[in-house]
Subunit: 186 residues, 2 copies
DNA sequence: GTCTATAATTAGATAGAC
DNA sequence: GTCTATCTAATTATAGAC
């Protein structure tokens, strides 16, 4: 792996683990096994490197979500698969957690990939809910955009509950509640 | 206000704004208008002061939630009032945001009040959902504990979506979706 | 391209005067 | 109780040798 790649991968790891504010250039360099000079040669500084890392994480998350949401199955089944998908629950969402980082939120550049990723996910979920409405799997009175936001919020909030309690169970409990509320009448 | 009180209040503000990792003793002292000596006289250090601040915030949040959840009205109405309650959405949840703080999660002492607060809220919501089931307002097939987790997760995740997009609208959209799913059949 | 040296600033805390 | 040194390490970056 090239040095820039190693730097980006190390930054991704540390951003996920400690967030932007909690990640120092020094920690990145040590993790990547590179010297100061390498980093400042390839990137303008911490924000520039973080931006590259966040963009890569965003792309990866999008691809991973699409793999589940775009697979065969009924709308309910695809949403269920997304919700029940195996996750590193206690590590939190590598994109969502960035919204609690003051320096990320303060920077339009750093916030943009976060916003775009969650927005894309919401739209993708909304389209599936809409499909489910057309097929009569979901009640016609439901607003697809609203339900999509609820699904995404349950996932993001599930991470919060899990990390607070120190156990992934809280995430799963919230997901089961949502699936029960969404379940097509039998 | 006494000096310890000013220190705690300043810490509360900064923890909410920038989290634990992003808050330095120096920033707290400047905000409180106190010198180094005062802080280390009344508290053992940053973690000790943060613990006092988090405990106070936790108590306040519990009292505020109880004021809404314990008011008169049907179970659905009380949950709706809680969800639609006026919030400083873009500032995020002063308790929930701490779960994304690596140093808070790494410390059982700092994590405890966070966990206890969210756990109390979940229990409180579960009792109301249970009440709603008994009254036939919620479907008997629903699990009160699961639904309570879903409600809490939607709120916590709503903050994430709102902060990502820079607008409180995303929070409200998720809440409306949840209320639609919870709405008693008419 | 990568490394080491250097540097200004802040983080977090201690010591001791008042 | 509060204030002002003082201190060690970390943060973020620049300079310049190789």
């Amino acid at each position: 792996m090239s040095t820039p790649d190693r730097l980006i991968e190390s930054t991704r790891e540390l951003l996920w683990e400690r967030g932007y504010v909690g990640t120092s250039p020094k920690a990145i360099l040590e993790h990547a096994g590179a010297g100061q000079g390498s980093m400042y040669h390839h990137f303008r500084g911490k924000p520039d490197l973080a931006l590259a890392a966040i963009r890569r994480t965003a792309e990866e998350m999008r691809a991973g979500a699409e793999a589940v949401l775009g697979s065969p199955g009924s709308p309910y089944e695809r949403i269920e698969a997304y919700l029940r998908r195996e996750r590193d629950v206690l590590r939190g969402c590598p994109i969502g957690r960035l919204t609690m980082d003051p320096d990320v939120i303060a920077s339009d550049e750093l916030r943009a990939p976060v916003d775009e990723t969650l927005d894309w996910l919401r739209g993708r979920l909304a389209a599936i809910v809409e499909e489910g409405k057309e097929q009569g799997q979901f009640a016609a009175r439901l607003d697809s955009t609203e339900i999509a936001a609820t699904i995404l919020a349950t996932v993001q909030g599930g991470y919060v509950l899990a990390r607070a309690s120190g156990s992934p169970a809280a995430f799963d409990t919230g997901v089961r509640g949502l699936l029960a509320l969404l379940a097509p009448a039998r």
